[in-house]
Symmetry: C2
Subunit: 322 residues, 2 copies
């Protein structure tokens, strides 16, 4: 990254001559077009405000130019220097701005990453007598929650919801990891055991909680298990009464030999099974058990509408028998 | 997000009374400690400089306080307003700062994501007569390149280098995806075919180029194939002459039925096989073929030292027979 000083009617050669920034290059504002966007520019605040350029910029001003300074600030300049009160050392500030620039360009493709993440979630399946739906709402750009489902070769529906410890970009890396298991196994036990073995082998330092189910859409028989996940599955009966399906083992990634307990039940007509991430209870107030009660109450009365601002990723996977 | 106005000797009640920001709350600077870090603070520039607080802040100043303004700016204040020249409308600026705040907190865990990504790369394997090494240097926080290797059940080394189209967070999501194939297959054909089928099924909209090899460390027989990857594998012979191993098919993710051509060779004592991502040639000048020539020349004379500043992710996987 080079540093360019824009020629101006005010003589700023003393900036260029500062010993600790040896390579400041003088340039006219018209020649800026030919300079790559990652280089640093130092320019008089009035010239900056009269033009637009993409390079990160430090503006030079006099003490009484407060209004110009705040405008340059709002327009995206990176720092300001007062001409007769230049910082003792320019190099550390330039170094800090370079790091800030790197940081900003790192975050620039988070929206693209978020689109790709949503794209990896499977599209709705057409299953006779059943409807599978989901809500997938990250607290920030990227989610640490995941969900997936597919039909097994013997025409059963395998579906799961997972919550990677933490949130944001680090956890989302493991949602990409989870997406690679799509279609690979045909039972909750086999899927979760394989995920667990690999997670322990790779020593990722993050555990994952999972709720996983297997439905036979002809007999309506359901088997399911939980790997350390909270909240538990919620079953809404046809009369809108609710049932919490309790069962648990360790989360994935903690122990080499994971013992999973499979539970079974049957889905009646007009019943609904819900898997939720803990972000779904955190939108309610009170202790954990009060939060769960409110979530169940909300889901069973069909008024669930997640708020815009979340403190944790929120994901709900719903399977309804018609 | 609420907006707090810090009490100051200067009467700033006209800010609080602006009609388009209805809910500005007056507060003393000492009470700021009890306010969550995501709320917005408006404060006199001198008070801001005399204290430190974590909340995003707009400073109020007079036009002649340029020096205080640039200091507040450098200290991390988010914007400045001149008291007698307040913007016509405060609400859009506050809205913009809120979005900027969200964007900044999104990018805050990129370093943690980068550490996790590096952690998923396997540690060096102890293979008699062979040494496996790598360079893995992202252009930004996260890399769109990947590499992996493992011993198959019949004691052969399966190893590959992959380059996901694009770079940064979006591409890194698919490096997490790739990491989940660790140990899953025992031949280049089987591995790349399975990756390709899933990538096409999931319709991720990103292709992946791969170089994949399988070494028998007893017979020194090597088979390898390329899925649309450039540069090709480079073989350095014991006398330091070099050979480009040409072969290619489509990248992963483009066609349902991927036909891969497997090539074979044998590794002599003191020979070295190198898989490189295209970031390794982009550090050289000239056209693609000049760049490749310079890379090979550099690698064969053992002076390879990647520069600090990269425009593309750089990854090299090296397998040397001792």
């Amino acid at each position: 990254m080079s540093v360019y000083l824009i020629d101006s009617p005010v003589d700023d050669s003393h900036v260029r001559l500062r010993a600790d920034v040896p390579d400041i290059i003088s340039i006219s504002v018209d020649d800026l077009l030919s300079i790559p966007a990652e280089h640093l520019v130092i320019a008089d605040v009035s010239i900056y405000l009269a033009h637009r350029w993409p390079q990160p910029t430090i503006v030079l001003a006099h003490n009484h130019q407060g209004y110009e300074l705040v405008n340059a600030w709002q327009r995206g300049a990176w720092a300001g220097w007062i001409r007769d009160q230049l910082p003792d050392s320019l190099a550390p500030i330039i170094q800090q701005l370079k790091m800030q620039h790197q940081h900003q360009s790192d975050s620039r493709d988070l929206p693209a990453a978020a689109r790709l993440q949503k794209r990896l979630i499977p599209r709705p399946l057409d299953i006779p007598n059943y409807q599978i739906e989901h809500i997938y709402q990250p607290a920030s750009a990227l989610s640490g929650d995941w969900l997936d489902y597919w039909m097994t070769p013997d025409n059963r529906l395998l579906f799961y919801l997972a919550d990677v410890a933490g949130h944001g970009a680090a956890s989302s890396l493991l949602t990409g990891w989870l997406a690679a298991f799509h279609g690979s196994e045909h039972s909750p036990q086999a899927l979760l055991s394989r995920m667990n073995r690999l997670l322990v082998t790779q020593n990722a330092g993050k555990h994952i909680t999972v709720l996983c189910g297997l439905l036979n859409p002809v007999t309506h028989h359901l088997e399911w298990c939980s790997a350390g996940h909270y909240p538990p599955p919620i079953l809404i009966h046809p009369d809108r009464t609710t049932e919490i399906l309790n069962s648990s083992s360790f989360p994935l990634g903690l122990v080499t030999d994971l013992t999973l307990t499979t539970q079974t039940t049957s889905l009646e007509p007009k019943s609904q099974l819900l898997f939720c991430s803990d972000g779904a209870i955190e939108i309610f107030t009170g202790g954990t058990s009060e939060q769960l009660t409110q979530l169940i109450e909300t889901l069973s009365s069909r008024r669930f509408d997640p708020p815009d601002h979340l403190t944790d990723d929120l994901t709900i996977l719903s399977l309804s028998r018609i």
